[in-house]
């Protein structure tokens, strides 16, 4: 749910990075944080365990500049990917404007990807959203590894809706900003519709 403030002339939107555990959601945010100018970003918050697994969420506020006199701010969140943190994932999806699904391209993570996508669909539904309507971009991450599944196969299984999708290597940044740009665009287009 975006927040439009006429008084301060700001538009705030919430984007959630979703996907299986260890898929690279936090790494996406870390790369964005690293590559964004200090004026455009706030502090990145990670509520993580001692072993750097996301416990509750990561949060990165980004200010992207103005559209028609309104400053556009995006609040990026990640969810904890591990299966047993489902209650936390549901909370973070509240008020979401757009979702990036970060898939792990490795063969052995295929089941986890499929399960996480089904979990996303169910949790969105519980919050009153329809996965076929909400702005959604899919990222096939870890393309640099040797044991990856072909993109065409991942697309068939995870993105039959034909949403914008991107190959990525989030540790080196490949595809990270393409994904962000795409979801930001989808969210703003949705906003334009004035739903």
């Amino acid at each position: 749910m975006s927040f439009i403030n006429y008084s301060s002339r700001e538009i705030n939107c919430k984007i959630v990075y979703y996907g299986p555990g260890l898929g690279g959601k936090t790494t996406n945010l870390q790369y964005i944080y690293k590559k964004t100018s200090p004026q455009a970003k706030g502090k990145m918050i990670s509520l993580a365990t001692e072993t750097e697994r996301t416990l509750f969420f990561d949060f990165l506020p980004l200010s992207l500049g103005e559209i028609r006199g309104f400053r556009t701010r995006f609040h990026l969140y990640t969810v904890p990917g591990q299966v047993f943190y489902d209650a936390s994932r549901k909370l973070i999806l509240k008020g979401v404007d757009g979702v990036v699904f970060v898939a792990d391209s490795q063969v052995e993570r295929l089941e986890a990807n499929i399960e996480s996508m089904a979990n996303l669909r169910d949790n969105l539904k519980e919050q009153g959203y329809d996965i076929t309507k909400i702005p959604l971009a899919v990222q096939y991450n870890k393309r640099d590894l040797a044991n990856v599944i072909a993109v065409s196969e991942l697309r068939r299984l995870l993105n039959p809706m034909g949403r914008p999708d991107f190959e990525a290597v989030s540790v080196s940044g490949q595809g990270v900003f393409d994904t962000l740009k795409s979801i930001a665009k989808l969210v703003l287009i949705e906003l334009k519709k004035g739903k």
Partner: protein, 161 residues
């Protein structure tokens, strides 16, 4: 979509800010923040310079969301008040009208009792302001979006280095 957009207009923004400024003064607090349940900062009053308000807003909303989850587990609707006591500063967090979060930070110049009392008094006033905003959003449903004529170029320009 699940919930209607939150839109803040000039008039209501002024009323809200005046109300929380009054709370800040009357309860002798350090700073007061009003945040929407999704973690977006709406307004603040008081000595806010030292505090990263954006982070505070997202963490307070996460805190309320997590305790709301706990409440449901034990069959409660929500826990409408949270209180964190520190060595010097304390944080009083309350949910107002199931929609917004009021965060009050205070030290020994005030007291929990005073803050609770003043927050309670303010709650109904804030509720009625947000009620008015929702009504306005409904009636202006089609004319509300500031960039109905937004173009692809506008969006692309946001990402220029």
């Amino acid at each position: 979509m699940a919930a209607p957009q939150l839109i803040m207009y000039e008039e209501e923004y002024r009323r809200i800010t005046a109300a929380i400024q009054r709370l800040n003064r009357e309860a002798n607090t350090k700073v007061v923040y009003l945040i929407d349940k999704n973690g977006q900062l709406i307004s603040h009053a008081g000595e806010a310079q030292q505090i990263d308000a954006t982070s505070l807003a997202s963490l307070a909303a996460g805190n309320i969301a997590a305790t709301g989850g706990l409440a449901k587990l034990i069959g409660e609707k929500e826990f409408s008040i949270l209180f964190h006591e520190g060595e010097k500063d304390n944080i009083h967090i309350s949910v107002i009208g199931q929609r917004v979060i009021l965060v009050v930070i205070f030290d020994e110049r005030s007291s929990l009792g005073l803050v609770r009392l003043r927050v309670k008094k303010l709650a109904s006033e804030l509720e009625s302001i947000f009620h008015a905003i929702l009504k306005k959003v409904e009636t202006n449903a089609n004319s509300q979006v500031p960039f109905i004529e937004i173009t692809d170029d506008d969006i692309d320009n946001l990402f220029k280095d």
